[in-house]
Symmetry: C2
Subunit: 329 residues, 2 copies
């Protein structure tokens, strides 16, 4: 529980063409026309997503980079190069983080504590993913035309960022529940929703037990990218532990695409999924009063191609952030 | 500046056979006999380094894992699998971080703020690197027998960890200077010391200007792994900015190997370099009173093989931590 809950005073989101045709298209700040965005490689395009999202967060929050005390960022690429290269001109003290698709919630957790603890006045948290660079790195090069199994998810091309401040206006971050690594032995890198769901359940149940909140405390409990299969597991396992979240539960991976028309199988995933859905859609619904209390639980699968090739299972993690428009709730 | 400086109450270090023949061999807790350490791959051996170092930090600090509020960890492998797999049984809230070879200082910076801010009582910070897994991933597979240029550094096989607490005994962390990404356009992945030196200089000079400390405030200013070439650049560029650190300056990469007898060219590097030299050697010298005031500046090269293949330069970063035996200095 934060003593002086910081506020989320600005957000920005930029997405790819496919995300720009999905149900949330009206909520994003910018939709790029093609996956290269004028760059020479997918990786450089992903760095540009981070760089431009950072600029837009500052612009929408009326801040200059000199007013930002920390930027906290990470992504899915090897050695987090989207963040490292995207922010190299930012001239702001930088913490690189890696929590796979949970990265936006990890960075917001650290950012909120740095502001609450008085170490910073303004922190920007930002992540990205890119369908083409992620497929190339984690699964198969796109040129192979490999068939995707129905349990596979579609990595979101996009970047989302938030500005966390000790003044200004916007919803408050009041509680943080940091996840532990959970590994239930699932080894199928094409079924990450199932691998990540137990981590989400562990964090959600821990959050309820630690804070005394219940599902009724929230209008929305939002996981990162469990997709269709992970969603069912999450609802069921949470119910087994005595909490029924079904009526107020949704998943960013199920919201960002029209699954029937867009052929994304089990739904969206990637660091950019939770980040753009939160920064684009959820934040605006908090600002216009449609949502009042949100538990944002981004989830991450902590695998690599090397660990999968060596026969390893998929350790997972989920970080929860409790966000409200009235901290006296 | 931390208001209630936390203490480093325990450290542990485990190194590989080559490091175990170097000048600091008597200061490490454990020297493994071969690079596989009974595992089936170098990556699994590196995970074991993290896992066993975590156990040893707790054991030496008389703590159980239930008493640890956070573990903050990262490494050089793709998607940080040494940390993710090494700590998956820890059952402790986990933040993954990535700062290349600066990771130990990044994790200690965040850990110190979490303790100082009252968010945690005990935090473990831990990193690793492994010569064989790093060469395979960043340069060439060892089986190729590729000749190394004289400017190349030797990735340390080892893991170092520290316990940061709000009580107990041990030296204090009083100030943190978080680095910005610095990119001077150097593109040679075999000369990372030169790429990282300007980042170290930026952080050291910023530290002096922010805090009012001078080189005379310290017995030792210790960079992470600039090696022989980076060392010269660091001393020279710092002098140009008005601070002469030459007499109290050293570099972990120059301390861990006997360069004449061990054929490591420009010196050691890797997340495990600064971590084991600090946890093994420097901490013991602080505890026995030989050292009183240390500025620990771990440095990281934020590249990946993909960025190098795409012709990119090497963005770098350095994080500084001011450590003292008497916080009233």
């Amino acid at each position: 529980m934060l003593q002086n809950p910081p506020r989320i005073t600005s957000t920005a989101s930029i997405v790819g063409p496919k995300e720009g045709k999905g149900p949330l298209r009206l909520f994003f700040d910018n939709i790029i026309e093609d996956e290269m965005w004028g760059e020479k490689s997918w990786e450089k395009a992903e760095s540009k997503l981070i760089r431009e999202t950072f600029s837009k967060v500052l612009q929408k929050g009326n801040k200059t980079s000199q007013e930002i005390d920390y930027v906290i960022s990470g992504d899915l690429l090897n050695q987090c190069i989207a963040a490292n290269f995207g922010l190299r001109e930012s001239d702001v003290p930088f913490f690189g983080v890696y929590g796979a698709c949970s990265t936006i919630a990890e960075s917001m957790s650290i950012g909120a504590m740095l502001v609450d603890g008085g170490f910073a006045d303004n922190v920007v948290c930002i992540t990205s993913s890119h369908f083409c660079s992620a497929e190339k790195q984690f699964r198969f090069p796109l040129e192979l035309g490999t068939q995707r199994p129905p349990s596979a998810q579609w990595t979101v091309t996009g970047s989302g960022g938030v500005l966390i401040s000790n003044d200004g206006s916007g919803p408050y971050i009041t509680h943080i529940t940091t996840g532990k690594i959970v590994d239930m032995g699932i080894k199928d890198a094409n079924n990450m929703g199932a691998a990540m769901a137990p981590a989400a359940v562990d964090t959600i149940v821990t959050h309820f037990k630690d804070t005394g909140f219940t599902p009724e405390s929230y209008d929305l409990i939002l996981t990162g990218d469990l997709g269709a299969i992970g969603r069912e597991i999450c609802v069921e396992l949470t119910r087994e532990q005595g909490f029924n979240i079904e009526n107020i539960y949704n998943d960013c991976g199920l919201m960002i695409y029209d699954r029937e028309k867009q052929d994304t199988h089990a739904g969206g995933s990637g660091c950019g999924c939770a980040a753009t859905v939160f920064a684009g859609f959820v934040y605006k619904k908090l600002m216009d009063g449609t949502l009042k209390n949100v538990l944002f639980v981004a989830t991450g699968a902590l695998l690599s191609p090397v660990s999968t090739q060596q026969g390893e299972s998929i350790p997972s993690i989920a970080h929860a952030i409790s966000i409200t428009t009235s901290p006296e709730r």
